[in-house]
Amino acid sequence: MTETAAPILSMRGVAKNFGLQTALQGVDFELARGEVHGLVGGNGAGKTTLMNILYGMYRMDHGELKIDGRPATIRSPAEALRLGIGMVHQHFLQVPGLSVLENIVLGTTVSRPLTMDLTVEARTISRLADQFGLALDLNEPIEGLPVGVRQKVEILKALYRDVRILILDEPTTNLTPQEADQLFSTLRQLVSRGLSIVFITHKLKEARRACDRITVLNEGRQVVTLPGTTDQETIVRAMVGDRLDPGKSVLFTGSRGDETDRVSPKEVVLALDRVFVTGEGPIDRLVDISFEVRSGEIVGVAGVARNGQGELADAIVGLETPRSGTVLFNGHNAGHNAGLLTIAQRFQNGLAYVPDDRIRDGFLPTADVISNLILGSQDRPPLSRAGFLCWRKITDTARGLIDRFHITVADLSQPAGDLSGGNIQKLILARAFARQARLLVAHNPVRGLDLAAIEHVYQELLALKRMGSATLLLSENLDELMLLSDRILVLYGGRIAGTAARGAFDRYELGRLMSGAGPTV
């Protein structure tokens, strides 16, 4: 944390527009040597955009950049790498079908390009891995590896290329609490060996824990740069200005409100009994799952990604059929065999769904905003009658949703793919909340939203509970689950590793269950 004369990186007045949307308006950012500098703010605040500019993936419209005090232009990742800048992206940029070793050396000059004998490279990388505590098997194919390991591969890729500045974009997204701890200690090792790190995150606790300084971005503007020891409330105020009153918000009071707490669950809306779902190989992705969700209840499902949450959501929505066991939705058979409800029928019966990968699974980028908002509801009244669409009703409904969820749309006829990331998320959420659902299945619903929007969604979720809907909330954010759920189930390896009731939530206990360590009692 000692500061030397010149910062290793200095960005001034950086501005970037994507078509009509402004992503960054004149941001300053400085990275001192040997520091861990947190970049904090919601999605749409511009953190990833700023770092993508640094890494050469985007070109800035205005601004200047200095490395080691010398001006530099970075037009491509190749140039960034040459200047010693490396980036670990939020969505790992790895090539399926190749091994770990091949992924790491891809694009570098190898000693034997005509035979691809990589023993020399393998030795170098192993040494590096040991140095930084990142040991792993280099010859494994990258596809099946757990997220924590794949992240180590990403870091090794950067280290192998001798970077001096390392950017980490939301690195703890898919890690258990324990794996996150490991990452933080790795970061300390990296810094002790001379790297300077930019740590992008929206999780304040982590930023305060790991970073020497924190820069807050809000809607494309740099708001303030604070020491890492600053208290949480100050940082929050910097992030959201006065759009959010920490005193009244769910997020910051950490409570749902007495009225919500008093709502007790009633009849069973969703029941799973001994459900098994197979995957592509011989291993079952869901094993012996049994639980119920009642109306007026929020059931949280905790777990690290790829432990069965996706398959669970798929089975309930209807994208997967269990190989055995029963799934009952509203008393209708949603599991298998005769009388199985189709996905469309489930939506008709009051299912609402927010998918995990919202862009891939819930969004029509080339279609306009209105069409996106009615996806899933278009085939029944009031939006259509006898197979014909009622455009007036559709447009009214859509406008209502746009207002209610504060979706910023410049032109209703533009392709929805032109909206900013945060607005796309809001659109997909708005669609799910449009009608009061019998059962809402929400998978990581607030990922990618800024604080004010997250607050809004939490309020909507709690309102749903008060109105008697049932909610199954699958989330990788333990704090969120602990805040909102009546009960929490932990998924590990496709099984329910444990459950906890509200009032008895223990963070580290749940973390142990999430990593398969088994309950301590």
Binding site: S76, P77, V95, P113, T115, M116, G417
Partner: protein, 318 residues
């Protein structure tokens, strides 16, 4: 089937006929491995056939004919690549446009260069180049070592492509580009340039395949002489899972079906011959139906790569 049927003769004919299939499919595979889906083979092959024939006719040199066809094929590949990378246009649309343009050009060029003649003009054709010692072997000699130079070339190219793709650094990069161009980009490599090179070389192979038809088969150019082989080569690339070795063997299969169909047509049978001629196409559909589960295609095939794109839209099958 009447007449004498010698296996060696059949096999020799099979190897002779597989050249356009395999070359065009390998060309498709090469571009496909970079993520560019070329659907213009039929048009490119026709135009290359036309051009190759004309050049050979006017200059008397088969080599120049093939050379010009390669250039045409390479240029069309470049058009596809530039249009989809820099202009960001839909690859299928460019491909269909190129097909149509190729169809039109293929009949226009002879009219301009030669005009209408009473007898079809003839160009020199490829001769068999028997390899001195091996060519005299009883069965294998006839099949393998008394073929024209392009047959040998096709075999060697298939082997070379397999080696480059799976045993060299360049091949690694190419494969990565077709699976996850963003990863390749983030590592500092030029995705567009990789696509240009792959598609251009692929186009050159497709051009060669087209010119083979007049310059090895008939010695003249007739309208529509590609007869669907361009489309079949796409089927072959899929069937082979975009892997040079499987494509080669699949090409032999396609050639075998083609040769058999013509044998039957000449030989006569109680089924109307038109139905026999339908067999290659029906067989191809059947084969594709059975093999589509197992074959693996590059993950980013047919999709354009845009570094600054904020949300991805899916083109082609989801």
């Amino acid at each position: 089937m009447t007449g004498s049927f010698s296996f060696a003769g059949f096999a020799q004919l099979m190897l002779f006929s597989m050249v356009p299939f395999v070359l065009a499919a390998q060309g498709t595979m090469l571009g496909g491995r970079a993520g560019v889906f070329n659907v213009a083979q039929e048009g490119i092959m026709l135009a290359s056939a036309s051009l190759g024939f004309l050049v050979a006719f006017k200059t008397g040199s088969v080599a120049l004919g093939f050379g010009s066809a390669m250039v045409l094929g390479g240029l069309s590949g470049l058009v596809l690549s530039l249009g989809s990378t820099i202009l960001g246009m839909n690859q299928f649309v460019i491909g269909i446009t190129l097909t149509l343009a190729g169809l039109g050009l293929s009949t226009l060029m002879p009219k301009l260069a030669i005009g209408v003649t009473l007898t079809p003009p003839l160009a020199p054709t490829l001769t068999n180049n028997p390899i001195p010692f091996l060519g005299k072997m009883p069965v294998l000699g006839e099949v393998l070592f008394r073929q024209n130079v392009l047959v040998t070339f096709t075999v060697l190219v298939s082997i070379a492509l397999w080696y480059v793709l799976f045993r060299t650094s360049a091949g690694l990069i190419l494969r990565a580009t077709g699976e996850n161009p963003m990863a390749v980009d983030a590592l500092g490599l030029d995705v567009f340039r990789i696509r240009h090179i792959a598609v251009m070389i692929g186009g050159m192979l497709i051009g060669l395949a087209g010119a083979y038809l007049p310059l090895a088969y008939t010695g003249t150019f007739t309208e529509g002489m590609v007869k669907g082989r361009g489309w079949l080569s796409i089927a072959l690339a899929f069937f082979g899972g975009f892997e040079p070795g499987r494509i080669f063997w699949g090409g032999l299969f396609f050639a075998a079906v083609e040769v058999l169909a013509y044998r039957v047509q000449i030989g006569g049978s109680w089924v109307p011959y038109q139905f026999i001629l339908m067999l290659p196409y029906l067989a191809t559909m059947g084969v594709m139906a059975l093999s589509s589960r197992r074959s693996r295609i590059p993950g980013f095939l047919g999709k354009n790569y845009d570094r600054e794109r904020r949300s991805t839209s899916s083109q082609g099958q989801g």
